[in-house]
Symmetry: C2
Subunit: 438 residues, 2 copies
C-alpha cells in the first residue's frame, strides 16, 4: 500500500479525550475515531489489526474443534424472558422497540440464542459434544464508557458455547477452550495468565479469567513467576483428555490472582517468586452446567432413552479490547510496537527523498519485489521530510522499517530497523529483502 493513497490521519498532539496510552496511541496513529460516547469507527489501519486478531482467534477455535456460526445483533426480549435474564440484566442491556412495538434488544452476550439454536441440530447423545462460537458485535450500555476500546459500548467479541452429556465431557470441553485461549494469546505475543474468577451475571460453578500482563493495566495482579516457565503448551495433545487435564492442573497449581482474589498464605508460600504487576482481562471461561438448557427447556435423548439437559460452558474473548491490551503491553515513548502476528503491515518502506529519481526508482523496485513475495508493505512515498516519516513509522509501530536514501542507494545499501529494540543494520538491498521474505 502506498501511503500517498492510504487513509492514515495521524495526530501530532495527544487528544484530551484519551486518558490511557492505548486509547491515545490508537487515536494518534489514525486507527480509530470516536463517533459517539464509547462507540468507535475503525479506520483502515485499525481494521487491519482488528482483522488479524479476529483471524487468530478463529484459527485457534477451529483447531479446538469449535464450529463458527453467526447470530444477529438484534434479538427478541421474549428469548431473554425465558432464562429470566431480561429483567435481571439491568441498564447495561440496550433495549428497544421495533415498528410493531415488539420488545427487542442489542445482544450483550448470547447464551439463550445459542441454546435454542443448538437444539435445532442436536436431538440425541450421538450429536454431542458440540461447541459453537461466533465473532460478532455486542453492545453493553456502560454508564461511563472510557479508555477507548478497553471499555467501549459497541465492541467485537468472540463468544463460544459448549454442550456436553456429562461432567467428564463438560470438563474436557472447558479444558480445550482453556488451552485454546492460552495458545490464542501467546500467538499475539501476550503473557496472559489464567486466574480463578467469580462467575458474575452468567452464573455457574467454575470460571477463569485470562489476564494480560501490562505495566499500564487496569487492575493489580499477583503471581508466582513459576507460571511463566510452565505456560508453554505446545507439547500438549489437547485431544487427549487426561493429558490435557494433567497439564492444566499443574498450571493452576502456580499461584496467580487478581486483587479481589488474593490469598496471602499462598503468596507467602511463593516467597521470592511472587511477582506483582498490572493486568487487563481479555477473556473468560465459564462452566455453568444445565442452567440455560433447563431454563430454555432444551434436552437431548440420552443413551438409555431418557432426556438429558446438556451441560454448558461459555467462553468469551474481547476481540476489539485485545487491540487495546496489546498496545498497553507493547509500546514506548515513540508509539506502538506491534507483535509480528497482529501488525497491520510487516514493513514500513521509507523513501527519504521522494524527489530524487534514483532513490524513488529503487524504492519502487523494492516495493514491487516485496509485494510480489507476499510481504505486507506500507510504502511511505509521500513528499515529506525524513523526520516526519520516521515519526509516523515509530508511531504506527510496524515491526520493520526499511530506510532508503540517495547516499545509500549510490553505495548499494539500505538500512533495516527493527521497531522492537531499535536495532539497525546497513545491508545490501538483496540481503535486506531476503531478511524480510518468509
Amino acid at each position: 500500500m502506498r501511503l500517498s493513497r492510504y487513509f492514515l490521519p495521524v495526530l501530532k498532539e495527544t487528544p484530551g479525550e484519551a486518558q490511557i496510552v492505548s486509547h491515545q496511541l490508537m487515536l494518534r496513529a489514525g486507527m480509530i475515531r470516536q463517533t459517539a460516547a464509547g462507540i468507535y469507527a475503525f479506520l483502515p489501519l485499525g481494521l487491519r489489526v482488528l482483522s488479524k486478531i479476529e483471524q487468530i482467534v478463529r484459527e485457534e477455535m477451529d483447531r479446538a474443534g469449535a464450529l463458527e456460526v453467526l447470530m444477529p445483533t438484534i434479538q427478541s426480549a421474549e428469548l431473554w424472558r425465558q432464562s429470566g435474564r431480561y429483567e435481571a440484566y439491568g441498564p447495561e442491556m440496550l433495549r428497544l422497540k421495533d415498528r410493531h412495538d415488539r420488545e427487542m434488544l442489542f445482544s450483550p452476550t448470547a447464551e439463550e440464542l445459542f441454546t435454542v439454536i443448538f437444539q435445532n441440530g442436536a436431538k440425541s447423545y450421538r450429536d454431542l459434544p458440540r461447541n459453537l462460537y461466533q465473532i460478532q458485535w455486542k453492545f453493553r450500555d456502560e454508564t461511563r464508557p472510557r479508555f477507548g476500546l478497553m471499555r467501549g459500548r459497541e465492541f467485537l467479541m468472540k463468544d463460544g458455547y459448549s454442550f456436553d452429556m456429562d461432567m467428564a465431557g463438560a470438563q474436557h470441553s472447558y479444558n480445550r477452550m482453556f488451552i485454546a485461549y492460552m495458545r490464542t494469546f501467546a500467538r499475539m505475543g501476550l503473557d496472559a495468565i489464567p486466574m480463578r474468577a467469580d462467575t458474575g451475571p452468567i452464573g455457574g460453578d467454575l470460571s477463569h479469567e485470562f489476564i494480560v500482563l501490562a505495566p499500564t493495566g487496569e487492575s493489580d495482579v499477583f503471581y508466582d513467576e513459576a507460571w511463566l516457565e510452565r505456560r508453554d503448551s505446545s507439547d500438549v495433545d489437547a485431544s487427549d483428555a487426561d493429558a490435557l487435564a494433567a497439564y492444566i492442573e499443574t498450571l493452576n497449581k502456580d499461584y496467580a490472582a487478581t486483587d479481589e482474589k488474593r490469598d496471602l498464605d499462598a503468596e507467602a508460600a511463593c516467597g521470592a517468586r511472587l511477582q506483582r504487576s498490572k493486568g487487563i482481562e481479555v477473556g473468560q471461561v465459564f462452566f455453568f452446567g444445565d442452567k440455560y438448557t433447563r431454563a430454555m427447556g432444551v434436552s437431548v435423548q440420552g443413551a438409555d432413552g431418557t432426556p438429558v439437559h446438556p451441560l454448558m460452558g461459555s467462553y468469551g474473548i474481547g476481540v476489539s479490547r485485545l487491540m487495546g491490551a496489546i498496545i498497553e503491553a507493547s509500546h514506548d515513548n515513540g508509539g506502538i510496537i506491534w507483535p509480528d502476528a497482529v501488525a497491520p503491515f510487516s514493513v514500513g518502506l521509507i523513501n527519504l527523498r521522494a524527489d530524487d529519481p534514483e532513490c524513488a526508482a529503487a524504492c519502487e523496485g523494492i516495493y514491487a519485489e516485496l509485494t510480489a513475495m507476499g510481504v505486507e508493505v506500507l510504502y511511505d512515498d509521500r513528499d515529506e521530510r525524513g523526520g516526519a516519516k520516521f515519526a509516523t513509522a515509530e508511531l504506527i509501530g510496524l515491526p520493520w522499517q526499511l530506510v532508503v536514501g540517495p547516499k545509500g542507494i549510490k553505495a548499494g545499501v539500505v538500512e533495516l530497523r527493527r521497531r522492537a529494540g531499535g536495532a539497525r543494520e546497513e545491508l545490501s538491498v538483496e540481503t535486506a529483502l531476503a531478511r524480510l521474505t518468509p
Copy 2:
C-alpha cells in the same frame, strides 16, 4: 470436516414459513434459522457461504483501490439531523434511546458517518480521490419482512463512498465501482445486468442497479441479448479513465430495464434480441454530488486555495441478499447448485458403507489427502444409508461428490459426480484426486 462432528440440521420437509425457493432451500440445507421476524442466525454451512461472498466483494473493492474501514452499527441521531435524514427516513429506521436518554439509531446506511470520517483524513485536494467502504450489518425495519435473506431486517451490506474534487474524477470513481461490481458478480457465477435506476432516498443525479437474472426473481426485467455478449470486462484497464468510460458507454447502449423503467420504443428496436426474464437487485451505485458534504459542512482546500465540497458517490452490495440470489439463480429439484467460487465446501466425500472397514479406510485416506492439498471437503462419515447421504449431498449442493463404495474399492475405482449437470465418471482414486486438486 467430518459430517459426524459438524452442525448441519437438514430438514426433509419444506417449512411452511418459506415462500420462495432460496428461503426454503437455506432452511432445508441447515444454513440459516429465523430467530425473530426478518432476523436470521447463520449456521456453519450458511456462514461459510456468506464469508466467501464477502471475501469476493472485499477483493474486488481492494483491487479497485477502495480502502476498507468499519463503522459502528449504533449511531447518534444528531449526525442524521445534520443531513436532514433523521426525520425523512421514516419507520424503516430502527430508533432507540440509550441509558442516558440520548437518541440513537441502528445504521440503515452510512453516508453521514463516512462523510464526517472522510473529513478527518482529508484536508486538501492532494488527499483526493478517496474511496472508503465497509462490510457491516445494517438494519431496516421492514413492515412485512419476508423471503428469508432477500428482504430481511438485519442484513449484511457492503457500502462504499467515493470523494472527488470534480465531475471528471467523480465520474471515473463511479465507473470504477461500476466495473468492480460487474467483476464481483461474474466471479460468483451470476449474470448481473446494470440498469438505470431511480435514486430514491439517497438522492442524486445518476444511478444504476445491478439485477441478477433468475427464473424465480422478484421483478420483471427486459434486455437486449447483445448485453450478454459485451459483458466480459477482463480486457478493460480500469485505471485508464477514457478506456473505462468508453467500455461502459458501449455496454449501456444495450437496452436493459426493469418493469418501472421500460421503454417500448427501445424494445421495438431490439426486435428478436429482446429478452424477458425475472430479476433480483443485488447492488446499486449512486452519484449525488455535494449533497452530503455540503449538508455536513465538509470541505477540502482546492488547488487554488479555496474550499471545495467534494463530490460523492455511494455504492451498495447486498452481501447476505446475494446468498439468496445465487440460490434463486442456481438450483434444481434436488436442491442448491453452488457455483465453485462460493461453495461452502468443494467436495462432498460420500462413504457408502461406514461399517465396512476397507471402505472406511479408503475414505480416511482420500479425506486426509484432499485436506492436505488444501481442498475443502465435507466428509459424510455418518452411519447412514447411501440414499440419505445422496439426498443430503444434492440438497446442500457442493460442486463435486466423490462416492466411495465397497465394490468400487475392491476394483480400485470411485465415482466422481458433478452437481451441476449431474455428469458421473468412474475413475481410479488417483485420477479422481488429480481432478479435484488445483
